[in-house]
Symmetry: C2
Amino acid sequence: MSGNGAGAPLRVIPLGGLGEIGLNLLVLEHGDTAIAIDCGVMFPDAEMPGIDVAIPDVTYLRGLGERFRAIFLTHGHEDHIGALPYVLAERALPVYGTPLTLGFVRERLREHGLSGSLAPYGAEPCRVGPFAVEPFAMTHSIPDSVGLAIRTPIGTVVHTGDFKLDQTPLDGRLPDIGRLAELGAEGVALLFSDSTNVERPGITPSERSVGAELEAIFRQAAGRVLVTTFSSHIHRMQQVIDLAARFGRKVALVGRSLVAHAGVARDLALLRVPDGTLIELAQARDLPRDEVTLITAGSQAEAASALVRIAMDGHKLVTVEPGDAVVLSSRIIPGNERAISNLVNHLYRRGAVVYYDRVARVHVSGHASQEELKLVLNLVRPRHFVPVHGEYRHLVRHQRLAMEVGIPAERCHLLEDGDVLELGDAGARRAERVTAGRVFVDGKGIGDVEGVVLRDRRHLSEDGLVLAVLVIHQRSGEIVAGPDLVSRGVVGEEASPEVLDAARGAVMEALAALNPESRTDPAEVKEEVRRALRRYFKRFERRPVILPVVMEM
Amino acid sequence: MSGNGAGAPLRVIPLGGLGEIGLNLLVLEHGDTAIAIDCGVMFPDAEMPGIDVAIPDVTYLRGLGERFRAIFLTHGHEDHIGALPYVLAERALPVYGTPLTLGFVRERLREHGLSGSLAPYGAEPCRVGPFAVEPFAMTHSIPDSVGLAIRTPIGTVVHTGDFKLDQTPLDGRLPDIGRLAELGAEGVALLFSDSTNVERPGITPSERSVGAELEAIFRQAAGRVLVTTFSSHIHRMQQVIDLAARFGRKVALVGRSLVAHAGVARDLALLRVPDGTLIELAQARDLPRDEVTLITAGSQAEAASALVRIAMDGHKLVTVEPGDAVVLSSRIIPGNERAISNLVNHLYRRGAVVYYDRVARVHVSGHASQEELKLVLNLVRPRHFVPVHGEYRHLVRHQRLAMEVGIPAERCHLLEDGDVLELGDAGARRAERVTAGRVFVDGKGIGDVEGVVLRDRRHLSEDGLVLAVLVIHQRSGEIVAGPDLVSRGVVGEEASPEVLDAARGAVMEALAALNPESRTDPAEVKEEVRRALRRYFKRFERRPVILPVVMEM
């Protein structure tokens, strides 16, 4: 690769977001300059017990050193900005974004004690080495979202960001379809497009369509109206606030992140609240129930969230009573179905009327469906296409959609995280893969909890643990103390002391049968204890983790 | 309650299936006789790590003793028959059902080394004390399903069983709507009706509608066709087998339970396989790919299932290759979304074309939607109504549907498991609740794993465990051996020995600071070790389970 990159290929390196959910990070590299688009986290699923968050493995970026020069953001969702504190803690870098996106980033950085060099997109393209980056308006489930047109030595690259083509956006800021058409007419070398909703035929409904449904709910509600949505969904919040004002209700926000995000959006005039509409939660208690609307966190039924506590009748300031309406105005993130279902059951038990996706159209997606995706492909008509933001099956189906509208198969590139695509004069080719993956954050530890630890956690959770401690005399092998047995998560110890008593007997018996030499060898004693306990619990078809501790005196 | 029950009320006691999913068991009691309808299990969710299955708490039935006299089954699904081995192991009882249902029960009992007294429904109603039970045909996602009309001293009780009103059932056995109308005309005191799909408007499509979709898949498939469905879904299997035969393909069944269920259904002529169509899996390997169809287990992406092993390229006899079609012809049981999504991604990675509910209509539900539920309510026009088979929210919505078609609110009874409804001359009243709930089966243990153990398992899974062992001299309090520290699921021990070394140091320090009296008290030493380790790990924002073991010499 030459120093200034003349004649060099454009290297496309997804480090997150392709083939896995969440965690978007895409690197573009030309000559001695690399830039990244987005830098997100993903939240853990049931396979990652105890994990707070997963961030992308940035080994490759670290290796680039000074050549990695800037990060460009498309919008302010956690899966696009959440890893910035971790990346910027290693090396300061300019971060470009729209005002709302940067507002959310600033908040995140502050939590980590960082400031960062944040720069709003200007009227002119941002130039970084051979790249010139120009944002264009897109619509999504968060305001101030953009796609990016990036001029590079090998031609123009277009990235849609996360988008849908909402023709009646709440803030009147239309997706810039004209710009997409212009770029297409000029010639686009490479398109990255959002694959999330590629399984859905037709067109994703406008955000405004939710308003009509919410209006009907407000019209009927005899008591309080509680609405839960994602804290970054400013337009959803706006619709609820507008309806509350229209129906003579005050609004209280419940949840730290909701309050923070609403604050950032209000400062930028992207959330407009009629005077006197917002009140503190404590004030809501003194108002008649039909004059109160609450917007609460907890749309995924997170155990510690306000809404779950409210549903379980365990919130200090808020109760739900017959006649109240509760609206789950959000999608269900896969893995949370059971928890959300339980939440709905509890709300019904309190007498609330509950509105959720299965019975009311109280949420619409922020991602484009098939007809929108085809429209973008046809407008941009790129020479090369890389579907992004989706699990493997979404990428495959998006690629197929591209082929349907006439993009040749050999110019559709199905990349997964860590794959490297090089585009140059000689066309497209795959280069050697680079390190990519997820790094887990657990408390203050980053990356110290990995496969083995998670496997242990899963094993512990399924079968519990039995601990056996004994002290042997180092010369005679005599048992000086113990064996003492302790179990956790195996059987109710208090309820079944006889189980552990019998297990202790089994250990004693096994050790008595050991030949004299082995008795003085702690490793052999340990193994014998393990074997005896494994055998003992097998009778009950249990396979607890067995931890023998043999001490010598 | 009088001995023969003259003038006594009918007691309705759900012990499972109302307010919780799965696990159906409904008791009807009059005078000195009690009968049960269905007797099912539920499969564990993420909140029940390590649990094999949950069965109903039958404390109440046990208390009835000899008065509990028979069990009547509506159909052969696990959530309706799965707990029979546990109940019958306690006391032999006659069990009534249709031939297929009893065939599946027989198989289950055999696995538990039981035989049981199984009796097919006859032409005459089955009389047990004051009850006379008569089945009528219903359609569901398993053949040979019935509803029950039960004559009792307080009037006729109708139970729909799990049902939909399929007007073109695959076997031509129509739901007996005429009988429902007759019963309604005669007068029905109480109706129990299936609430599963009460959230869905309209009518559930016929099982036959899946056939058209499957036919299109068979027509296009260039390689093998793999179909996964529930092993009890005999009609789905029938459709796949018929299509395979039509398209000149042989069929192999993959999965123990599929083979067993197909065997039972074939013996009863409820599954008809054209001669020479079924082959052994080993034979399939020698046939051209476009002459093979596989029906496999693993529709819920169970980790050990054939389909998951196939998708991960880890099955001894079956591979998936480009051009193969894989059809997930089943619903996603809540909680399995992530696993199924991963399964689909892996199948795409192998080059298969994958058909699943989001992109193809390859499954229909076996439960009635709103219009069917209203039709049944209008035909039966019961005096009292109890919605069954649903979570709390379903029961609420079903009750509301009943009120919409004119059943007065005071005659709709929203019961949860353990509630008791008494119907008599004086009308309906609630009686004192009885014991009800889930009992967990883990290996050979029944009921020994309960709340505390599960909480321990979850805690272990989220934060892992640290164990500290030391031996103290009982008079001087001197540390004779240890402290030895072992951790599991906290940090990679091999990777970070310094973490445990430092923790050991923290324990030593804390113990050195203890006053002399406390040092000889094992309980105080233990508590001090716990405190020291808790403090130490808090620095890393970790909260492992801490198990101090202090031995005395």
